[in-house]
Amino acid sequence: MKILIIEDESEIAVSIKDYFKPNGVHCEMAGNYKEAMDKINMYDYDCILLDLMLPDGDGFDILKELKLRNKTEGVIIISAKETLDTRIEGFNLGADDYLTKPFHLSELLVRIQALIRRKNFKGNNIITFNEISIDIFAKTVTVNNNTLDITKKEIDLLLFLIGNENKVLSKGAIAEHLSGDMADMLDNHDFVYAHIKNLKKKLSKAGSGDYIKTVYGLGYKWQND
């Protein structure tokens, strides 16, 4: 998987790159409009991360260029701008997703995965991890062909954990992922524990391995050992 990070704040770009690398995502970086257009013209990417405020141009112009050239890359806008208007304009110009800064790298990773799944959809809507299979459209989870009685939120949690395989996920990151639009209001992440506990119980009851590790004081980690 190859993505392009168009971001003038190089430290953020490097952090994203370093975080994604172990999960099989190769990142290239562009720090300004010109560099970004050069790379877009030369290579094809699975996904583009786009910051709207660039030193020599507007991120929206890149979206317009992509449309003009019939490029099919999925675009996720990562911006500090948070008005409804910029969001709508971004989507109208062909962006696929919009993530406001600051964000968790884990959140960005699963958003990219979901976007690529949507883009490369070839009748395959099943995600498998060892004995676990998740049908994204039917919203079902099976372990060794046994269907689990599982809530939508637990499937969401499971996808988030698997998508961030081998990553330590803070309770806050999980809480924000599960709460969606409401995340900004939350000041209590205790409910994450209950969800993790239930998911763990359901998976192990169905005969799955114990992949969810607790990282003391920090959060959880999906690990295949």
């Binding site: 952090s15 600051p102 806050g172 900004d184 000041d187 920090l218």
Partner: protein, 434 residues
């Protein structure tokens, strides 16, 4: 007439000047009336005495040459008011006032009587002439009533004239006053003063315009500063967040490291929340227009009840929803959601363990009631920014400030009360300020 906030009586400027005139006129009148009475009485008496002396002078000049004793008796017989009597020992003219019985009027009446020495044929006599003063009373009364009529006409004239004139002169002042009363610095509507030809009011208007212009500019830049600052903070916050995420992935983290990272994570998300709330608050303050559309509150709450129940679970709070019929309002959906979310989370955050939340809607109101602290909250500070009833609480003290701003923006009303151990916040939609 009106009462100001201290319970002190306030009076309109126009009335105040008129009252002063009136009071002055009444005092002058009260002093002038008796003085006038006495002066006119004195004048009348003086004139009467003059007439008496004149008569006597004429008598002495014309009649005494050929007067005989018998003439005197005849004179006395046919003259009602003049009498010649034997010398009474009067050496010079003297006039006295006396009450005498008047045979015609058949009662006692005031008289002026002149006693004067006269010599007829070398013999000394006393000349007595009396003059009835009864006409004086009538005259004084007619003068007094004329006086009163003139005074009344004068007073009424003063009142009407001063009111007319003053209200004309002070009109620009009242225009200005009305403009300032309607002026609110956080609304984008500077006052427009009507031009006036009166120098003082023109100066007043110009100074006010300058003052308002300057303050609005300061207020605006202050507001923009908050928005800009919050905006600028987002990039370093993003860096902070991604670096913590990266740091968390380092192998061989000890328990202490993880714990530190965990609490750092909480700090950064708290900072983030604070920043977003500040942004939202300044956005509500700075943007004057938000698109409105119908929102059904009951549906929104029902849709997100799971989310809130989840948040309430750790405190074992039970949530009771009492909806009679759909409550539909016309407002900006995003802001309305923020309003409901803040009130709901507020009711969870400040609740006690095993507590209760009751959400009730009526025709045009929604009420969030929750158990919690045993005492009523300080209503004066409740909606202020960064005012926290419990300093150790997780919230950032902006939730209710945001609620209040949204309520104000829509011209709604929010009230708080504490009754039977329940803290209740009621939002009244379509609130009219009559």
């Amino acid at each position: 007439m009106a009462w100001d906030t201290n319970g002190k009586m306030t009076r309109k400027l126009l009335n105040k000047t008129t009252y002063s005139f009136l009071i002055y006129s009444v005092i002058i009148l009260l002093i002038a009336a008796p003085v006038f009475y006495f002066i006119s009485q004195w004048l009348y008496i003086y004139e009467t005495d003059e007439v008496l002396l004149f008569h006597k002078g004429a008598f002495a000049k014309e009649s005494k040459e050929d007067f005989t004793e018998s003439d005197i008796a005849a004179w006395n017989k046919y003259n009602r008011d003049v009498e010649i009597v034997g010398d009474m020992g009067v050496t010079k003219d003297s006039i006295v006032g006396k009450m005498l019985f008047d045979s015609i009027a058949n009662e006692k009446e005031p008289f002026r009587i002149l006693y004067s020495p006269v010599t007829i044929n070398g013999k000394k006599f006393t000349y007595i002439e009396k003059s009835n003063l009864v006409e004086m009373e009538g005259m004084v009364f007619s003068i007094a009533s004329m006086f009163i009529i003139i005074i009344i006409i004068l007073l009424v004239g003063i009142i009407i004239l001063s009111k007319r004139l003053a209200s004309k002169i002070w009109k620009p002042f009242y225009d200005t006053l009305k403009q300032i009363e309607d002026f609110e610095i956080d609304k984008n509507k500077p006052p427009h003063f009507t031009p006036t030809s009166i120098d003082e009011f023109d100066r007043l208007n110009k100074s006010l315009e300058r003052l308002i212009e300057k303050n609005t500019a300061i207020y605006k830049s202050q507001r923009e500063f908050v928005e800009n600052a919050a905006h600028e903070l987002q990039t370093p916050l993003a860096l902070f967040q991604t670096k913590i995420d990266t740091l968390s992935q380092l192998p061989n983290l000890t328990k202490e490291h993880s714990q530190l990272l965990g609490s750092l994570n909480n700090d950064v998300s708290r900072l983030n929340r604070l920043n977003k709330n500040l942004l939202l608050l300044s956005k509500i303050e700075n943007d004057s227009y938000f698109e409105k559309q119908p929102v059904i509150l009951n549906d929104y709450i029902k849709k997100h009840l799971d989310f809130f129940s989840e948040q309430a679970k750790s405190k074992s709070i039970s949530i009771v929803v009492e909806f009679n019929k759909p409550l539909q309002i016309n407002s900006n959906p995003v802001l309305t959601e923020v309003l409901i979310n803040n009130l709901f989370l507020n009711a969870i955050r400040h609740n006690s363990k095993d507590g209760k939340i009751i959400i009730r809607t009526s025709d045009k109101t929604i009420t969030f009631s929750n158990t919690g602290p045993e005492t009523s909250l300080n209503i004066n500070k409740l909606f202020n920014r960064f005012s926290k009833s419990d300093p150790s609480a997780q919230g950032n003290g902006l939730g209710l400030a945001i609620v209040k701003k949204i309520v104000e923006l829509n011209n709604w009303n929010i009230t708080y009360n504490f009754q039977d151990g329940l803290h209740s916040f009621t939002v009244q939609f379509e609130f009219s300020t009559t």
